[in-house]
């Protein structure tokens, strides 16, 4: 669609390729397809969450409550599973989506109807949702032995040699691609980020569009809630504590502008993959995993600096016009 954005994602892809090449000089099997597929699978949940956050950031908002939503929904479905092991998994996923959606919609309603800045709303709901997790669980954990084999096994089952978790991620990426580029809602999300005033004149309801974005981020948080719990097979109040900032980090590295309106599905996915590769690569090249956080912090700062250069507006060039005349 436009050359600059394309090139931004291209550069990120190049950086990721270089990273993989660098790691494989120390540990050749890293670049093997099977391993890369594993990295993708490991990063699936972060990718899904980053896409939801992207929808919100594009509208000039932010959702700090995604990890808390994930934690609450994860606990809810884990308890559902523990209480009723025969509950079919597809229905359980629908339940997770539903719970996540409701929590996202609460954020969205507060932003839309009361016009409270999203950072304040989600700062509040972040603590509320996590606290509510404690309330429904009574502070107890749900352990792997309380979860049904189907609950744990669903995402691990292989379909055409690829785990279901990866398929879900691929499906979500495809859905977001269609949503963001091919639907009126997706384009409205971009439009209100680029120019809210013009959006009003174009007949777009800015508040309602923000609400939809928060519903989307709630929906994916709910999905990620089930996926996270069934992957790490423990549900507790501490699940994904502080993870909201990793999600935002993936978006920032992926070139999504915190000022809204700029960013793409590809960027969010690559941003998440970049973080995912670093976390899987460190142990294999014998760097302590404790380096991971500092490296991603450095990457975020670097990404912001580079993105800011790309976004810098050109002045009106009066003189050039004069010379051409």
């Amino acid at each position: 669609m436009n050359a600059l954005l394309k090139s931004r994602e291209m550069w990120l892809a190049v950086a990721i390729a270089a990273l993989i090449a660098l790691v494989s000089t120390r540990y050749a099997p890293f670049a093997e397809p099977a391993n890369l597929a594993r990295v993708f699978n490991d990063t699936s949940i972060l990718m899904i969450l980053a896409l939801g956050q992207m929808a919100v950031i594009l509208t000039r908002s932010i959702d700090l409550s995604m990890a808390a939503n994930l934690c609450f929904t994860g606990m809810a479905v884990a308890m559902l599973n523990a209480a009723w092991p025969g509950f079919p998994i597809p229905l359980l996923i629908v339940a997770a989506l539903g719970v996540g959606f409701v929590l996202g919609a609460i954020n969205g309603l507060l932003v839309w109807k009361l016009n409270i800045p999203s950072i304040v709303v989600t700062l509040g709901t972040l603590t509320i949702y996590r606290g509510a997790t404690f309330v429904i669980s009574g502070g107890a954990w749900v352990n792997s032995d309380q979860m049904s084999p189907a609950f744990i096994g669903f995402q691990r089952a292989a379909l055409v040699g690829i785990p279901v978790l990866s398929w879900i991620a691929i499906l979500v990426i495809a859905a977001f691609f269609i949503l963001m580029t091919r639907t009126a809602t997706g384009r409205s999300i971009y439009a209100i980020g680029v120019n809210p005033t013009a959006s009003v004149y174009a007949g777009i309801d800015v508040g309602r569009t923000k609400f939809i974005a928060f519903c989307i981020s709630g929906l994916v948080s709910g999905l990620a809630g089930y996926l996270w719990i069934s992957r790490y097979v423990i549900a507790s109040v501490e699940v994904a504590n502080g993870y909201e900032l990793n999600i935002i980090a993936a978006c920032v590295i992926g070139g999504i502008s915190i000022a809204g309106g700029i960013g793409s599905v590809g960027g969010a996915v690559l941003g998440a993959l970049f973080l995912g590769i670093i976390s899987t690569a460190l142990p294999v090249v014998n760097i302590s995993p404790f380096w991971q956080m500092a490296i991603s912090g450095g990457a975020i700062i670097l990404a912001v600096v580079l993105n800011a250069r790309g976004e810098r507006k050109q002045g009106r060039i009066i003189l050039k016009k004069a010379e051409a005349a």
Binding site: G124, L245, I258, W291
Partner: protein, 334 residues
């Protein structure tokens, strides 16, 4: 648009119209005082142990460290910026103090290191934001990972212990009877920040920048420099908080003060500081700190777990912000 008077010729314009007393009664701070009194009353009804002097003294430890940072954060947010890295600065300062302990540095040296690290981290944030013109929310998410990441590199899953006896005073000592050093330091700092924000030209410039940075620049205010100073101050306060926390806990882990940044910001916003910049008061922030301390401590006495208290804090934040909006709409309709 609404020039209420239109008589001709030069005339004397009054300084102000509204009665200062009346506007004080209708202020945000008054609302916070009411909330604080209500929670205080509820606490004293709910638990017989609440009203003891030692119990009230313990209460203050719940907020003093975070509130110290909130004072500087309030100024920063009023100026239109934010710093999410404060908790990570606490961790980094604490880690480096821990390293110094291993090298045999004494208490004065440790304090100096804590403050210097805080100041340096704040200056680093400030340089990235004002020097390169980057959005502070993203920059400080980055430095937050970076600073805490360095702690993990240094410490891994280890912890620093063995802080000298004399160092314990800062976080555990009492100046007089039940009055802790932390409380005295906080009250002193709050007074200084109140004076700076509300009574000096520096404070006035912060408000101007927060309301309209461009017009402020066009009025001869050095916007970048002012914001840089505020980032440094916020870092410094995080350094001070680090000294207090490290002294109180007597140990340093890389996960120290995790999640404090959001609590500090909650305190600031609850205190009536606009997250969009341009308005707020130190009194409000102090009251919000007290309220958060009361809620946490009161529910603690009732054996309500900390995580459930956070629900109350979160609800309080949203309700207190939403209330004036809903009330305003209601009044307009009537």
């Amino acid at each position: 648009m609404s020039d209420t008077t239109a008589n001709h010729g030069p005339r004397r314009i009054p300084d102000r119209l509204d009665n200062p007393l009346w506007s004080a009664i209708l202020s945000w701070e008054a609302l916070l005082v009411l909330v604080a009194i209500a929670i205080f009353a509820a606490n004293s009804f709910a638990s017989p142990y609440f009203l003891g002097p030692w119990s009230l003294s313990d209460l203050t430890f719940n907020f003093t460290e975070k509130a110290l940072i909130a004072l500087a954060m309030a100024l920063l947010i009023i100026s239109g910026e934010i710093d999410l890295s404060v908790a990570a600065i606490i961790a980094l300062a604490s880690t480096l103090m821990g390293m110094a302990v291993q090298a045999g540095v004494g208490a004065p040296g440790l304090v100096a290191i804590g403050l210097a690290v805080g100041l340096a981290c704040g200056a680093f944030n400030g340089l990235l934001v004002t020097g390169l013109g980057l959005p502070s929310i993203v920059v400080t998410i980055g430095t937050m990972s970076l600073f805490r990441g360095v702690c993990f590199i240094i410490l891994g899953d280890q912890a620093y212990k063995g802080y000298p006896e004399s160092f314990a005073f800062f976080g555990q000592g009492y100046v007089w009877w039940v009055i802790s050093f932390e409380l005295v330091l906080f009250l002193a700092a709050a007074t200084v920040y109140w004076f700076v924000l509300h009574k000096t030209s520096f404070g006035r410039r912060i408000f101007a920048i927060g309301n309209n940075p461009v017009a402020a620049q066009f009025s001869g205010i050095r916007v970048g420099r002012t914001k840089f100073i505020l980032f440094c101050l916020t870092g410094l306060m995080a350094g001070i908080a680090s000294v207090l926390i490290t002294s109180r806990l007597g140990s340093t882990r890389p996960s120290i003060a995790q999640g404090y940044e959001l609590e500090v910001i909650t305190m600031v916003v609850l205190g009536g500081v606009s997250i969009l910049g341009g308005s707020g008061s130190i009194l409000g922030v102090v009251l919000a700190a007290v309220i958060m301390g009361l809620v946490t401590f009161g529910l603690g006495l009732l054996n309500v777990p900390g995580i459930v208290m956070s629900i109350f804090i979160g609800l309080l934040l949203i309700v207190v912000i939403a209330l004036p909006i809903v009330w305003g709409r209601f009044r307009r309709r009537v």
